[in-house]
Structure formats: C-alpha cells, structure tokens
C-alpha cells in the first residue's frame, strides 16, 4: 500500500461554525487541526462518537464547507481556497452517500432522474447516452433497469441505498465518502450493502472514506482507521493495529465498549463514564483529559500532537 499515491491530504484543518447572533454569539469548534492523508484505492475508516467531527471532516475535505484554516489537497492540487466555479473537477471526482437515503433523494423525482442528474449537470452526454448509463449503473448496484421509472418510496431502505450508490457512481468518481451508509438499515440488509460497496471498490479501484460509529463495520471495511475525538484525530493506524493494539486511552475505551458476540465472555467493559465536553468551549490541553483514566498534569495545558509511534501508527497522547 505504501507505494500508492496520495489522493487526499489534509493539513492542520480547522473548521469553526458561528452560532447565534447578537446575544450569546458562540463558535462551534468542529475541527481543531486535523492532518491526515488518504491513499488512492484504500478505505480510510473514520470512527468516533456523535459530534466528534467525522462528518464535518468529510465535508470539509469535499469542500462542501469553507475551512477556517489549514489546507486540503486533492491529487496534489490545493483546493482549500478555490472558488466554486473552479471546483468542477473536485465535484466529479468525489461523491458522497448519506446515512438516510430517504432524506437524500427528492421523493417527487423518479429514480432514473435522480441517478441521471449528475450526468446532466457535469457532462455533455446526449440524452440517449445518459439513459444507457443510468441503466448500466442500476444494473451495477444490483437493481433492475426498470427501476428508473419508479419513485424512491416504492423501494425498501436497502434498495434506496443502492440507488444512492448508483448516483454517486454516475460520474465515475475516484473517491466516495460513505457517511454512515448502513446505520439506517436492517441487520440482514446491512451486509448486502457492505458487500456491494466492497465489490464496487474492487471493480472500479475506488478510494473510500468510510464514516461510521459501528466499530465492527468499520473494521470490516477499512484498510486504515482514524479515531476522532472532539474535532481532533486521537489515533490513526492500520485497521488491524487499531483493533488489536490500540495505544490511545480513548481508542482503548471504544474497543472495549464493543459488545462481544460470545455470551460466555461477558466482561466489565466500563472504561470511563463521563460525558464528551461541549465543542462550544475552545479546548485547552488534551481534548480527552476530562475522561482520561491515565492523565497527568501535562495533559491539562499542553495539546498532544499526532506522532508516529510505529511505522504508520500515529497517536496523539503524551503517555502513549
């Protein structure tokens, strides 16, 4: 994997959102300096709790937001400050699949048009070419081409997610961001969609940014995993290393919290019982300090930087 080229690079990415007006104006510190790279053809998993910045990170990288500071490089090109009219290539190269396919599709449009729309906007294909492409895409995701005449509500959750994937594939993107793609699906359908993503990735050489709070799913899908906490990356390593030898105390707590599938091996999984601090307060020192079982005085004041402990294994902890 090492020789594969870097397709996405984030350098010290910061994303703040202003909240409220007049009285009580405040700032949400969604990302507080995130750096990482994604290699072409790999799957990078992003895990962490609700509100830790996983989705914000993916959207900032896609330039759906304007980052507050820091840089985003796509295929070596700095896209951080490019104006919208010059972002066409990025829009064609990066696509996203959302959590709830019912919310991300216009219920009044037929499926065929939903899948075709990116082609109308971004390409000069003729109507006939587009129609053929839509049929091909629907077949690729395991649906019958006749589906294009029907409306989203006529499909089950799993089928709708297939339609969303077909739409994401329409422009032959290089990167697909999957933001909790199976969280809204039933267990028996979840694995069908995961299998589809895996086979499409193999077939088209796709790079996936896979966001989920389901740790088992991320382990199954990813080559490398970034664990996020309160707008920072706490640990980033090969999937195997994250799950088998986590170094950051937060990663350890997460892994320990996964319910075991063996009822005879119940364990005391409680690692910490605190609440995640509010992102409205600018964090000082280590973001995990209020919940960390092993913190020392230094953690209160000094923010730990992500450093490489073993080849490819980065941890942001003073004590790791």
């Amino acid at each position: 994997m090492n020789e594969a080229r870097t397709i996405i690079e984030a350098r010290d990415l910061v994303q703040h959102f202003a909240q409220g007006r007049f009285f009580g104006r405040s700032v949400v510190h969604a990302l507080n300096g995130v750096s990482f790279t994604v290699r072409e053809g790999e799957t990078l998993g992003l895990v962490g709790e609700t509100g830790c910045g996983k989705s914000t990170l993916a959207r900032a990288v896609m330039r759906l937001y304007n980052p507050t500071s820091g840089q985003v490089l796509f295929d070596g090109v700095d896209v951080t400050r490019l104006p919208e009219r010059k972002l066409g290539f990025l829009r064609r190269s990066m696509q996203i699949v959302f959590q709830d396919p019912a919310d991300s599709m216009n219920p009044r449009l037929p499926v065929g048009y939903i899948v075709e729309e990116p082609l109308i906007i971004q390409t000069r294909m003729s109507e006939r070419e587009r129609r053929d492409r839509v049929a091909e895409l629907l077949t690729d995701v395991g649906l019958d081409p006749s589906a294009s005449m029907r409306y989203p509500h006529e499909f089950s959750g799993g089928q709708r997610q297939r339609i969303a994937i077909a739409r994401a594939l329409a422009l032959k993107p290089r990167v697909i961001v999957c933001d909790e793609p199976v969280s809204a699906l039933d267990v028996s359908v979840q694995s069908q969609v995961l299998n589809l993503l895996l086979s499409l990735q193999k077939q088209h050489g796709l790079t996936l940014l896979f966001i989920s709070h389901a740790l088992g799913v991320v382990r199954h899908m990813s080559d490398r995993v970034a664990v996020m906490y309160l707008g920072t990356v706490a640990e980033l390593a090969d999937s195997k290393a994250i799950y088998e030898s986590p170094r950051h105390p937060y990663t350890k707590a997460l892994i320990a919290a996964i319910p075991s599938t063996d009822p005879t091996a119940r364990k005391d999984r409680r690692q910490y019982s605190g609440e995640v601090p509010s992102p409205l307060v600018k964090p000082v020192g280590c973001p995990f300090k209020s919940n960390c079982p092993i913190k020392v005085a230094r953690c209160e004041t000094e923010k730990p930087e992500l450093r490489e402990l073993a080849p490819g294994h980065q941890v942001a902890c003073h004590l790791a």
Binding site: T43, E49, T50, S156, G158, Q159, D186, V187, S188, V189, Q190, S191, Q192, L194, N195, L198, S199, H213, A214, L215, G216, V217, R219, H220, M221, S222, D223, S239, K240, Y243, A253, L254, A256, A257, I258, P259, S260, T261, D262, P263, T264, R266, D268, R269, R270, Q271, Y272, S273, G274, E275, V276
Partner: protein, 327 residues
C-alpha cells in the same frame, strides 16, 4: 424454566386495521419471563417486537391496533382483561417502559426533575416535596447522572442523548417496577454510552431484582445482556432458548443469518460478509406456510407447502423450521 413466571404471554395475536382490512402483525406469540431475569426479543424492524411489547401495557396505537387473541399474564392477572383505569396504575408503576428515542419520549417543555416527580406523585404514597426531591436526586445518582443537582432544572434539549436516556431510566425506576420493558434503549446512542447504559441496567437489575424484557435488533447487545432469547420474524417467534444455546447452536436459518451477517471482531476484513438475501415481506403478504422460505438458503419444496410449528429441538430450545435437525 422451573421458577414461577412473572410475565407469561400466551398465544398473543395483534391485528391492525388498515385500508385493505385487518392485518395480523403478531401471530400467536408466547413468552415467559421470571423475576430478575432478562429476556431479549430480537428481530428486524417490522417483525412485531415493539407491537408485542406495547400489547403488554396496552399502548397499541389507537384506534388501529387491537389484541385479537391470547393472554398476557402478569403476576397471574390477565392484563388483556384489566379495565383501562387499572392499567393506568400499572403503567409506570410495577411495569415501566424505556423507549428508543428519549427525545420523543420525554416532554420537551418540562424539566427533567419535574418529569421524574410526576411518576412519584402518581405511583408512590403521598409525601412532602422535599422528600420527593431527595428521592429524585437519589434516582439520578443511581443512574449515574453527572452532577445530578444541576440536572433537576434542565430541559431535555439541554441534555445529551446518554443523559436523556438516564432520565428515562430514572423515571422508569421511580415507580419500583417489577418488570422493565426496554425498547431498543441504546440504539440511538454511541458505543461507549451504550456500554454504560447496558452495565447500568444490569447492575440495577441485580440490586432490585426486576425482570427486563429487552427489545433489540443487535445480536451483540443480546449476547451481552440476556438470559433468554426469543427471535421474531414476520410476526412469529421462530426460535427461543437460552442465550448460550442460541449463540452456540442457532438452528433457525434466520437466527443463523442474523448472527453471521454481523461483522465480528474475528472476521476477515474486506471479505464478503454472509448476508440474508431479499427483504422482509409486508404483513399483508405473509405466506400461510413458512414465512422465511422466500429468503432461506435451505428452503426446499415442502417449505412452501407445509406450515412449520414451534417445536422443541433440545430441552428448552424451540424452533419453527421444518428442516431442523437436517441443516
């Protein structure tokens, strides 16, 4: 199953009236639960698990839902026959329920403390408000609410998802329940919070000896919390047994599918996951024969001609499958 059951559901059937007539969504479900034990009711959305649980305390959506047959014996009393005003006393008292989404189950315009107080006013002997306050604080401490004093005056929107679920559990405990019905209480929560809430339910159960009916679709949670497991598919129980039995020797192809399609910690990354093909049929389209046959990898001709019944495959292990013993 030697002990005396606290809750015994016998052949419960529930139907909903729809535009196309009466549709049966729960078909002759039988369950029993002893004091101090946890029964997990597992299945996918639409399989009837929430409807079964709602029938116990009779909160089926009105006027559509109707119990069409069977008994729900709680401490020997058939709840299906109990008059409505009697039910008010039971709900939130000896039987309480925790729902999946605490944001919709809590009243957004009342403070957390006041919502817990309401339960105490309704279900406990009359007492002074200072005493109530002490009990509420005590409950919040019991559910490990961070800084409980300051949460009494908080509105639900000011609390995190985990804290809201703690308020729900505190409310559920306020009436000293003998039976707690927990309907996917951790599904909307993060894993670390889920682990905290599961541990909390287990330790409270040990302390006060209540029985728990735990509804979930997550086999990992089932393995973690339950003593007994009942798997539902399309309105019927398809397999029932002890948790060790179900995980060690699942027999019904649906149960097997549920267990194996979950990415486990020792599966090979990026390999193809076993999956159950197709989707759950709509309640109007349940076949008269095996309801899983259309998705079953082991189905053969007789599965579409003969109706399977729930039969004992091993002591205490019931399965609804014609091919049990062969597959």
């Amino acid at each position: 199953m030697a002990g005396k059951a606290l809750l015994e559901i016998k052949d419960l059937s529930v139907s909903f009236s729809t535009d196309s007539g009466l549709v049966e969504v729960v078909d002759k479900v039988s369950l029993s639960l002893e004091p101090g034990k946890t029964l997990a009711l597992v299945g996918e959305s639409g399989c009837g698990k929430t409807v079964t649980a709602s029938s116990i305390i009779r909160i089926l959506p009105q006027p559509y839902g109707r119990i069409t047959g069977g008994q729900v014996l709680f401490d020997g009393v058939d709840l299906v026959q109990v008059p409505v005003d009697e039910m008010y006393k039971l709900r939130g008292g000896v039987i309480s329920m925790v729902f999946q989404e605490p944001m919709t189950a809590l009243n957004p315009v009342h403070k957390a403390g006041a919502q817990i107080e309401e339960v105490i006013t309704l279900h406990r002997e009359a007492m002074k408000s200072e005493e109530k306050r002490e009990i509420i604080l005590d409950l919040l401490r019991k559910v490990e609410m961070p800084s409980p004093e300051s949460r009494l005056g908080a509105y639900p929107f000011q609390l995190s998802g985990g804290m809201r679920q703690r308020v729900m559990i505190a409310m559920a405990l306020a009436g000293h329940p003998k039976l707690l019905i927990a309907d996917e209480p951790t599904t909307a929560l993060d894993v670390t919070v889920q682990a905290q809430i599961l541990d909390l339910i287990k330790s409270l159960q040990r302390d006060i000896g209540m029985a728990v009916l735990y509804i979930t679709h997550d086999m990992g949670v089932v393995a973690e919390i339950s003593d007994e497991v009942a798997v539902m598919y399309a309105g019927q129980i398809v397999e029932k047994g002890s948790v060790t039995e179900i995980f060690k020797q699942p027999i019904h192809p649906y149960t097997r599918g549920l267990i194996s399609s979950m990415p486990s910690m020792d599966s090979k990354p990026k390999s193809e996951l076993p999956s159950i093909k197709g989707v759950v049929p709509a309640p109007t389209k349940y076949p008269a024969t095996c309801r899983f046959a259309g998705r079953c990898p082991f189905a053969e001709e007789r599965c579409t001609t003969t109706t399977p019944v729930l039969e004992e495959a091993a002591p205490g292990h019931l399965v609804r499958c014609l091919r049990r013993g062969e597959i």
